[in-house]
């Protein structure tokens, strides 16, 4: 490799494609003295022009810290060292603050997850996109505004003249993310680092963003994509580096790593991705869990610890009387500007004991309102909900309250549903109290029993929610829901915030509970793979209506409604994992073109 001298990149020859960024033996430590923690250890990576390297790994694996170190922003408490770090062939270890500022935004653009907190919410979208232009004086002052409009249009934002004056909170999640990307691309960086750019976005929006990034790469831009979503990675990346506990365990061409993984951890990650193929199987390995901070599982008879995916489950048979019946339920809300919006229209569903019914659709399609109608938290304007053969939606609250324990809910963000000052023991004890379990030894015994059922241990009793990991929190939320021995569990995006291996454990736990307790699930998710894995039947919602429903295999294999086809087509990485069929997805039907070719139509 070239020594850290300021030789002209052209001297090494254009065909050699000088890497945009190259780093050898990167180490990042946090803390000082004896309490030093190594977050990144001996990481080698490089990105060439037009290339996409994906950095894959779970929370805390050191992906984000690595990315930040590449722009010299690992943070004031980080100690960064490396054998070699070249940006544009220049030795970045000798950069002072000024030299780094010249690189940031101009040579290396950076996109963070969740544009609502990554854009300055007090400034207009236009001001945010203009900032790199002004900082690096890319265009003369007078032309900044027109340039910003062009950038927004390039990022696929319709009506940029209006959007440029708006604030981030006035934009939808997809538009916000595109505005954030537009600001990162404003000064035409040679390399874009995108840290989870599509997490928490709907699949169709995600597809649009990935298309946008692919376009830029076709123009020669390098892309360092950081993601825990293997499906996204499989669609975008040329090369994949799998990171775990600060170390890259496997690096190679995407096609090879994602279909013939060499490292056991990569295999584990791939096996944990839920989809139609994994239906009825365990996603997480047995008691020899690879994440030491996660607790060991309850022993399961029949689970085979040697194989990554366990034996196929048997599905419980449904009894004939449905637990939940909704008929032609509708509900509208009055918006802040006085307009009336139909959140849910003509919603109908039946859920039998032990059955798992999926509810999919994009954000704003009415999934959560439908769930709240079934839970009796929102009164329907039209139609009725029956629970266990009795009228539910018309029942007075006084009569309904004793029955509520039989219908429980878990949400995407368990932390927000806990009192942060309460210990796990107290959280579960309260739930037990509502079903008449007296304080004292009996309640304590039941509390421990609940923890064991969700794969936690008695020593978690005294912990507060904030000190638990994401997966442990969701387990506590499930334990709390189980405290009242419900017959129906409404799961509203229960695994969206979780890493794939933790997600696998939670999904396995839900499947176990279905099997052992005959628990019925209403499973809301925007992740079609998860729904396909978990559910027997699925309802597809769009604009408050159920546009399609039926057996999950049938709906996903042979969708009837155009919107379902659009959703499925936008789903990245359907040919993932060992033994996946390499067949590409079918070309989009007419409607899908509206969604996927947004840049061509909106320009």
């Amino acid at each position: 490799m070239t020594a850290p001298t300021r030789t002209e990149p052209a001297a090494t020859g254009r065909r050699a494609r000088t890497p945009l960024v190259e780093i050898a033996k990167l180490r990042v430590d946090f803390g000082t003295g004896g309490r030093r923690v190594r977050a990144v250890d001996a990481v080698d990576l490089s990105v060439a022009p037009g290339e996409c390297l994906a950095l894959v790994g779970e929370s805390g694996s050191g992906k984000s810290v690595t990315a930040r170190a590449l722009v010299g922003l690992a943070g004031p408490r980080a100690h960064v060292s490396c054998d070699r770090m070249l940006v544009d062939g220049r030795d970045a270890t000798r950069f002072d603050a000024r030299a780094w500022r010249g690189v940031r935004g101009r040579r290396i653009g950076f996109v963070l997850q969740d544009a609502l907190v990554s854009l300055d919410v007090l400034r207009t979208v236009g001001a945010e996109v203009a900032e790199p232009l002004r900082t690096h004086a890319v265009v003369p002052r007078g032309r900044v505004h027109t340039r910003v409009l062009d950038l927004l249009a390039d990022a696929g934002i319709p009506d940029p003249a209006r959007r440029v004056r708006q604030y981030p909170h006035q934009l939808s999640g997809g538009l916000r993310q595109r505005a954030l990307i537009a600001s990162a691309l404003a000064a035409e960086p040679a390399l874009l680092i995108a840290d989870e750019p599509t997490t928490a976005l709907d699949v169709t929006v995600q597809a649009q963003i990935l298309d946008l990034l692919a376009d830029k790469r076709a123009g020669g831009m390098g892309l360092l994509l950081i993601s825990h979503d293997l499906a996204v990675v499989s669609r975008v990346a040329d090369r994949v580096a799998v990171m775990r506990d600060g170390v890259i365990v496997e690096q190679g061409p995407a096609a090879r790593v994602l279909t013939q993984p060499e490292h056991p951890y990569t295999r584990l990650l791939l096996a944990a991705v839920p989809s139609g193929r994994t239906r009825g199987r365990r996603l997480s390995p047995g008691p020899d869990d690879t994440r030491p901070e996660e607790p060991t599982h309850t022993p399961r008879p029949g689970s085979d610890p040697t194989s990554v995916t366990g034996p196929r489950r048997t599905r419980p048979a449904h009894r004939d009387t449905p637990l939940v019946e909704a008929h032609a339920v509708g509900r509208s809300f009055t918006d802040a500007d006085g307009s009336v919006r139909d959140a849910v229209r003509e919603f109908a569903v039946t859920i039998h004991p032990g059955e798992a019914v999926g509810l999919v659709g994009e954000s704003g399609s009415g999934k959560t309102t439908a769930a709240r109608l079934l839970l009796g938290l929102v009164t329907p304007d039209t139609g009725t909900v029956r629970f266990d053969g009795r009228p539910w939606s018309t029942m007075p609250e006084r009569a309904r309250r004793p029955l509520r324990r039989r219908l429980q809910v878990i949400t995407q963000d368990p932390l927000g549903s806990f009192d942060p000052r309460w210990s796990v023991g107290r959280l579960l004890g309260e739930a037990l109290g509502t079903v008449g379990v007296r304080r004292g030894a009996a309640r304590r015994e039941r509390t421990v029993d609940l923890l064991l059922r969700v794969g936690l241990a008695a020593d978690h009793l005294g912990r507060r929610p904030a000190t638990l990991s994401g997966g442990q929190r969701q387990r506590v939320a499930i334990a709390r829901a189980l405290a009242t021995e419900p017959q129906v569990l409404v799961c509203d995006e229960p695994v969206s915030a979780l890493d794939v291996s933790v997600q696998a454990q939670v999904l396995d736990l839900l499947a176990d509970l279905r099997e052992s307790h005959g628990l019925a699930l209403l499973f809301i998710s925007h992740d079609l793979g998860v729904v396909h894995h978990v559910c027997d039947r699925v309802l597809v919602m769009h604009d408050g209506r159920v546009v399609e429903q039926g057996d999950v295999d049938r709906v996903f294999a042979d969708p009837e409604h155009a919107y379902t086809r659009t959703l499925l087509h936008a789903l990245p990485g359907r040919d993932l994992g060992p033994g996946a069929s390499p067949a590409p997805p079918p070309p989009p039907p007419g409607v899908a073109a509206d969604f996927l070719s947004f840049r061509r139509t909106d320009r």
């Binding site: 929370s59 805390g60 950076f110 907190v117 300055d120 007090l122 400034r123 900032e131 790199p132 600001s183």
Partner: protein, 329 residues
């Protein structure tokens, strides 16, 4: 339908209610103090004859039921009549008119000074090392904790008496304003700087700051252009309270520096139970408090666009929910 005009109207209405409440509480409190109001009217050291006593009682309506007195008083207030001072024999409005200017000059210069001091120290120390912050934070704590009359006396002793840098007392021009204003501003600046630095540090941990830094923006601009605006909202909210609290500080400062002003008038009026004057000053400070908070309610939406589209009753914007991502810290 919530509109901006409606928002302002609701705030104004709330302000009127606050003023009415303040007037009522003042009235009740002053009539519950006890003692014969006639004695307050004639002043200390004078024993009125029974006929004079009767005459005063009838003139001021002290023989009427309390509710009637309250009604009349409220009616006169609405008509803009604050009554006559018992002791000075002049209309209260005239007494206040003389004294409002020096107090306003003192209060406004103190507020401005405190604001500037707070912003400068907070910007200079936010995100700095522990030593700098510890020192400055300690200094702020000291100026907040020290009694302002003592600080004022120290300042007078050294700066005025010994070194003759500033006038000792009075209200003659700008030079006479410097020491009182600084003394009044210091504790306020200390509180505001603490809050501002804390919210600046909070803002600097937000993900958007990382985005701004990845654009190559210099650190000074990161603070001034981005973080300061985020941090300003709690400080502006606090400033509304500060304005209201300044009058209390003015009582001490005006006494120590022998300045004319509402504070001293209030002190004298309380001492001699000059009810109309006390009531008027309480009302005036309530009005100042209400106006300051109304201003805050209008400034906050200007700072935070999220408060414009949905004018909520709360002032601080909802903190963005940060997903606890397990990154090593």
């Amino acid at each position: 339908m919530p509109t901006f005009a409606g928002y302002v109207a609701r705030r104004l209405l709330a302000g009127v209610v606050v003023l009415w409440g303040a007037a009522t509480v003042t009235f009740v409190a002053l009539h519950r103090v006890g003692g014969d109001p006639v004695d307050a009217v004639v002043g200390p050291g004078v024993s009125p004859t029974p006929s004079l006593r009767r005459q005063i009682t009838e003139e001021y309506g002290f023989d009427q039921p309390l509710i009637v007195q309250y009604g009349r008083w409220l009616g006169r207030l609405l008509g803009g009549d604050l009554g006559r001072s018992y002791q000075l024999g002049r209309p209260v409005s005239a007494v206040l008119a003389d004294q409002v200017r020096p107090t306003c000059a003192l209060a406004l210069s103190a507020v401005l000074l405190a604001g500037v001091l707070a912003v400068v120290t907070a910007l200079a120390t936010a995100g700095r090392g522990r030593l700098v912050r510890g020192l400055v934070s300690g200094a702020e704590l000291a100026v907040v904790s020290l009694p302002s009359f003592w600080v004022g006396l120290l300042a007078l002793t050294f700066l005025s008496f010994r070194w003759h840098l500033f006038p000792v007392a009075g209200d003659q021009g700008f030079a006479a304003l410097v020491l009182p204003a600084v003394t009044l501003a210091l504790p306020v600046a200390g509180v505001l700087a603490q809050v501002l630095r804390q919210s600046l540090d909070e803002a600097l941990t937000q993900p958007f700051v990382l985005t701004v830094r990845t654009r190559g923006v210099p650190e000074a601009l990161v603070l001034a252009r981005h973080a300061l605006r985020h941090a300003a909202i709690p400080v502006v909210t606090l400033a509304g309270w500060v304005v209201g609290s300044l009058l209390g500080g003015a009582v001490l400062i005006e006494t120590v520096f022998a300045r004319p002003g509402l504070g001293r008038v209030l002190l004298a009026a309380v001492g001699s139970r000059d009810t109309p004057v006390v009531a008027a000053i309480v009302l005036l400070s309530a009005a100042a408090f209400t106006c300051a908070n109304l201003l805050v309610d209008l400034v906050c939406p200007a700072l935070d666009p999220r408060l414009r589209t949905a004018p909520a009753t709360r002032r601080t914007p909802p903190m963005p929910v940060t997903v606890a991502k397990e990154t090593p810290a």
